[in-house]
Structures are given as C-alpha cells and as structure tokens.
Amino acid sequence: MSDEIALDQLKESGLDVFQDTVDEFLAAADVGVVYGEPIKHEDTLIIPTAEVLCVMGFGLGSGSGTDTSKSPESPSSGSGSGGGGGGRILSRPVAVVVSSPEGVRVEPVIDLTKLALAGLTALGFMVGMMFRMSSRRHSLPGLED
C-alpha cells in the first residue's frame, strides 16, 4: 500500500517536471523570443531579431512487481520509476530593425564564419569530385595496352 502511494507521488512529481519542461519548450514559440528589447539611442530605435531552434525529448516510466519465488507465503514486492530527457536551443541573429527619422529599414546580420564554412564545404564537394574523376581516368588502361 505504502509502495503504491510512494509510486503515485513519484509519478506526480515526475509529471510536474515534465509539465514545466513542456511549458518552457512552448515558450520558445513566442514572438518575444525572436524580437529583442528595443534599444533607443537619441532619435534611433533598434530592435534586434534572431531565429530560434528548439528540440526537446522526454520520457517517463514506472513499474512494480511481486516476487514469490523465494517464499510463496510472504511475497516481496517492489516498485520504481524513472525519467530522462534532453534538449537543445539554438539561437542566431538574423537582422536588426532600425527606425530613424529617415524611415524604418531592416539591416541583415551576415555570419561570415558560417558563410566561409559553407563555401569551404561546397568547394570540398567540387575538388573531391575532380580528384575522384581524374584518379579514375588515370587508373583505366589505355586502348593500346
């Protein structure tokens, strides 16, 4: 009986943690997450913007059992529960909204490091293919051979 109560309490506390995590996860979809606090400087207002990627996984489990193998007259029982989860939030600046007396404009934020990495990857694809094709051609026997 006390095992069942303890198991229920564990389940409830696990569910509370689970609910909090889901609430935090759902908060990542809010407008305020991608638009930062407006920064005012003299006549200019700046609003930073960012994109947010959020991934989450969660699992809970519980169980109980009775062992009658040692003494069938007084069986021993046990129970347990457990849970685990993980997640990751990625955020990246996208643009800055600038409102000045001249008007409102959106200035993009360009991540040069990511662009360089993408460029090197693209170049790697092409150079790799060139090496592969030229080495294949050299390894083929000629017609006169």
Binding site: V55, V94, V97, G119, M126
Partner: protein, 90 residues
C-alpha cells in the same frame, strides 16, 4: 499522430515617434502525440510599420546568411555533378 503546424503571430507594437512597429514571426512546430518529443523553429518574418494615418507598410526580415548557405551548398553539389558529367564525357 504527430502535430505539425506552422503559424504566423503578431507581437506587441512598439511606438517610435509617429510610427508603430509591429513584429511578426513565423513558428514551425512538430510535436509527438504524447508531447514527449518536440521541435520548434521560430523566426522573424516581417515588421509592419503603421503610420498615424493608419497606412501600413510590411518590411520582410530576410535571413541573408541562411539563403547564402543553402545557395553555396546547392552550388557545390551541382558543381560536383557537373564536374562528374564533364569528366565522363571526355
């Protein structure tokens, strides 16, 4: 049945001078039936500028970095395919 949805939301307006700036975002969400697994992609979509006459202007927020990265990767793959085809025909 997993929940897959995309929605456009408007945030609170910010007043600057005689202009009102309304942020708009787009959320793409995938959630498993039991809400055990989830994915959210939240990105800024546009800024709606409303003047005191009530006229609205929509300024899209373009993610230049993302477009450039995908263009480069697509160019790299296409280039590799073209190089392969050229070598094969020679």
């Amino acid at each position: 049945m997993p929940l897959i949805e995309s929605e456009v939301k408007q945030g609170e307006a910010t007043r600057h001078g005689n202009l009102e700036l309304i942020p708009v975002n787009q959320v793409f969400r995938i959630q498993s039936a039991g809400k055990h697994v989830g994915f959210i992609w939240n990105r800024p979509k546009a800024i709606v500028v409303r003047d005191e006459d009530g006229q609205e202007q929509v300024l899209p927020v373009t993610d230049v970095t993302r477009i450039a990265i995908w263009a480069m990767l697509a160019g790299g793959i296409l280039g590799a395919i073209l190089i392969g085809l050229l070598y094969r025909h020679q």
